[in-house]
Structure formats: structure tokens, C-alpha cells
Homo-oligomer: 259 residues x 2
């Protein structure tokens, strides 16, 4: 039986330690091709490049542990997936994995996440897809403890498929050497970011801002990704790209719009 073809991408860029580790894990399960941004693209959401040109080139980053074929791309994570599927891959992949992101994409972070936008782009194209994130923002985070959960979830996805229209958002807690408590299927916790803009003056006398903020949890449920992570579990949220709030259609049909 031929091995599954796995497309690996991310939003932190092709040299990011999280991506390099994910490539190693995926090589245990299948044939890997990498198409990833040539520079960090965090916070890019589902941006695509429509008004400028895209560059891509074949690269070798890590001859020993890298994939046989790797491409860097000047575009966003969603661009990488589009380019991979249309131009670079030898055939339609069996799976697309994105990450391992340096930092959480749980709760409302999914909306801003380039990691998840790459996975969602693959999902829109009908390819089973998973985004992986470690809740540790540092560049030299230790990704080795994520191996077991990532291999387990990926193997189940390859075996069972993923329901159509669904993409998995997997977040892994930072356990400081302890094993994780287990893996939980969750819903996205309600939350937002309380922004604070740090206003500064440039050397030339021009005011500018840095966006900063604090995460504000609005949800006490014990079935959420945020709760699972706080208890040391890996969270798996089935995520969809049909954004329709079906429950609200009936309400809105009571509005007076056609008189």
C-alpha cells in the first residue's frame, strides 16, 4: 500500500522550529511535501495575495530531517496551500497539517490565526486538514512532548477521515516536562482580547501604536478548549467554514425588510 501524501505548512515561516518538528513527526506516517511562507505570517488570518505577485522556490533547510521536497513561498499561509494544490504537489494530498504554531490558537484566537487559515483553506478544497499549536510563544519552545498526541490525532484522521466541511483545531498545553492529561474534543470558548494600544513617538516625531492586549475569557463551560488546556488536556475543536449562524435565521425573518 502506498503511503499517504501529507502537505505540511505553517504561519511562522519555513525555518520555524515548530514546523521542522511537525515535518519529522509526519515523516513517520507518510510522504511529506512542505510548502510554507518564507517569513513569519502570524496574525494573518485568512489573508490571500490578490493584488501582488507570488514567488516560490524549492529549498533545502535540513538535509537530514527535512522533507525530500520543500518549497518556500512569498505569500500568506492560505496562498501556500493554494499554490501547493494547484502547482507544486505531484497529486492531491491525503492530508494537510499546519503548525506546530508557536502559541495558542484556542478560543477566539482561531479567527486571527494564520496556522488555522492554512488548514481551513485545505478544508475548503475538500482535503482533511488539522492545525496544531503549542501554548508556548517562545521560539525555542520544547516541541518534543507534543509527539504522541500529534501522531495519535493524525493517525485517527487518516484512518477515519474528518467529517466534510470540518477542520480540526488542535491545541497542546505547555506541560513543563509532565505528560498531558489526555485528549479532549471541545467547543471554542467564548472570549475576546481587551486591546491596549501602546502609543509612542518615532525619532522623527510621528506618533505610532503597538497593538497589545489581554485575553478575556467570557465562558465558564467545562466543555471548552480553554478549560481543557487549563487542566492539562490537549484540545481538539472541530472547526467549520460555513459561518452561517443558522439559529439566528428565524429571528431575522421577523424583521420588517420587505414592506
Amino acid at each position: 500500500m502506498s503511503k499517504p501524501l501529507i502537505l505540511v505548512t505553517n504561519d511562522d515561516g519555513i525555518t520555524a522550529p515548530g514546523l521542522r518538528m511537525l515535518i519529522r513527526f509526519m515523516r513517520e506516517l507518510g510522504d511529506v511535501v512542505v510548502v510554507a511562507p518564507d517569513s513569519p505570517q502570524s496574525g494573518m488570518g485568512h489573508a490571500i495575495t490578490i493584488d501582488s505577485t507570488l514567488y516560490s522556490k524549492k529549498v533545502v533547510i535540513d538535509p537530514e530531517h527535512g522533507a525530500p521536497e520543500e518549497y518556500s513561498c512569498s505569500g500568506t499561509p492560505a496562498d501556500c496551500v493554494k499554490l501547493a494544490l494547484q502547482e507544486l504537489l505531484p497529486r492531491r494530498p491525503d492530508l494537510c497539517v499546519s503548525g506546530i504554531n508557536h502559541g495558542s490558537n484556542a478560543s477566539i484566537n482561531v479567527i486571527y490565526s494564520g496556522t488555522m487559515s492554512a488548514a481551513i483553506e485545505a478544508g475548503i478544497e475538500g482535503i482533511p486538514a488539522i492545525g496544531f499549536s503549542l501554548c508556548d510563544y517562545s521560539w525555542d519552545a520544547d516541541f518534543t512532548p507534543t509527539r504522541e498526541a500529534i501522531l495519535k490525532i493524525t493517525a485517527e484522521a487518516l484512518n477515519n477521515g474528518i467529517p466534510p466541511g470540518v477542520v480540526l483545531n488542535v491545541n497542546i498545553p505547555r506541560t513543563k516536562g509532565q505528560p498531558v492529561q489526555g485528549i479532549r474534543i471541545c467547543r471554542q470558548a467564548r472570549a475576546n482580547w481587551k486591546e491596549r494600544f501602546d502609543k509612542r513617538m518615532s525619532p522623527g516625531g510621528r506618533e505610532y501604536y503597538w497593538l497589545t492586549g489581554e485575553f478575556e475569557l467570557l465562558d465558564k463551560g467545562k466543555d471548552t478548549d480553554h478549560w481543557a488546556l487549563s487542566q492539562g488536556y490537549v484540545s481538539v475543536v472541530p472547526t467549520q467554514f460555513d459561518l452561517t449562524a443558522h439559529h439566528a435565521i428565524q429571528d431575522l425573518n421577523n424583521w420588517t425588510l420587505n414592506e
Copy 2:
């Protein structure tokens, strides 16, 4: 009674004719403050600026029909909303409207839409929000026929509120002078883009790509935004930022993940 405070933004930039027209419409309903990108941001999805600086300045674009207060911002549409709420507005707005986009944000386009990301950002912050788009990509599109539907939907939103966690995605067909057939509450049509990359050679001999593609409808339902627009109706899709595919949780609980 004091007039409602309405934040107006977009993704085509502060000088875009669609935004200028939306400002005029909103001035019929309330006090308007504009915070919009200083350059076009189409296809930016829900990108935010976290690794670079943001600039904003007070501007006057159209002394006669513009808003008394307008700010341009160097960031993405989502940045504009964050900056408006935290730094620029005198108080929390009663409504945020985004658009009028030059081109459709119906169906799967909502995922890539900077117009909708601005509205969704406001929704995450608990502010009623609506994105408006005209299905005409040209810069000199005729926005005057959109007035009646936009005022009707906005007035109903101000009167009734919008259900919590829901943001409206309104698309208006291009009717070439005919009146619209009416306004329909819809769900997002299933579709994707069949990408095609146009590969070219730069004067310096470097290969590059342009992303192009064709819309592919995967949905024959007559309750979708795509169907409503094709019949000359304005489509209103209640859109949510809880991306959880709740229906898939039970399926995934059958996976073998904790043995």
C-alpha cells in the same frame, strides 16, 4: 434623544467610492465617525498587525459629504476597528458598518473578506455590526441604488439589535438600474474557488505567479445567498465567529484518542 453613534470602516481604503457613499447613508441615521485603512486591504481576511507599528491620522477627504471626524490607519480592517474602539471614538458606538465593498462577499468569499473581518471584529467586541457589499468590482460602480436596502437593514438593526455573537453579511446584486426584488435572510452557499496560477517571468528572469480563479458553486439550495443574489434579491446572512462545528463533536468522540 441623542442620535446613535455609528463607526464606518471598510477594506478598500478611506477614499473608496463605496465607503464615501456608506458615510452619506449613515449620516441620515446617526453621528458618524470613520476609521478606515489608508490603502486597499482586499483579501486581508481577519489579519491583524502584531509585529509592526500602526499609524493613524485625522483626515478630511470630502468636506461637504464626509463625516465630521475621519481617521486613516496604516493597518488592516480589523486593526481599524480595534484602534477606533480603544483610542479614537468618544464612546462605545451603537453600530459598526463596513463597506460598501466593491465586489461580492457572498458564499465562501466571506472567509477572505476584509470588509467582513472588520464587522466581525466589532461583533467580537459586542457591538452590533454589518458588512455591506455590492456585487460589482469596478471602482466606479453605481452605489446609489443600494441606498434603500442599506437604510432599511441598518434601521432594523438599530431598532431590534442583532442577536449576540452574530454579524450580518449583506450583499446587494448589481441590478443595472432595475430595483432589487427584495431582501432575503439566507445561509452561506457552499462553494470554493478553482484557483489557477498565471505563471510569468520577471524582467530579471525570476518566475512569479498571479493568483486567479473561478468561483465554483457546490450548492443548489434556494435558501442561499448565492441563489438570492442570482434572482435579484439582497442577501442577508447571519454570520458567527464561534467556528465550532457542534454537529461534529459527537462523531469525533468515537475516535480512539485516549488509550
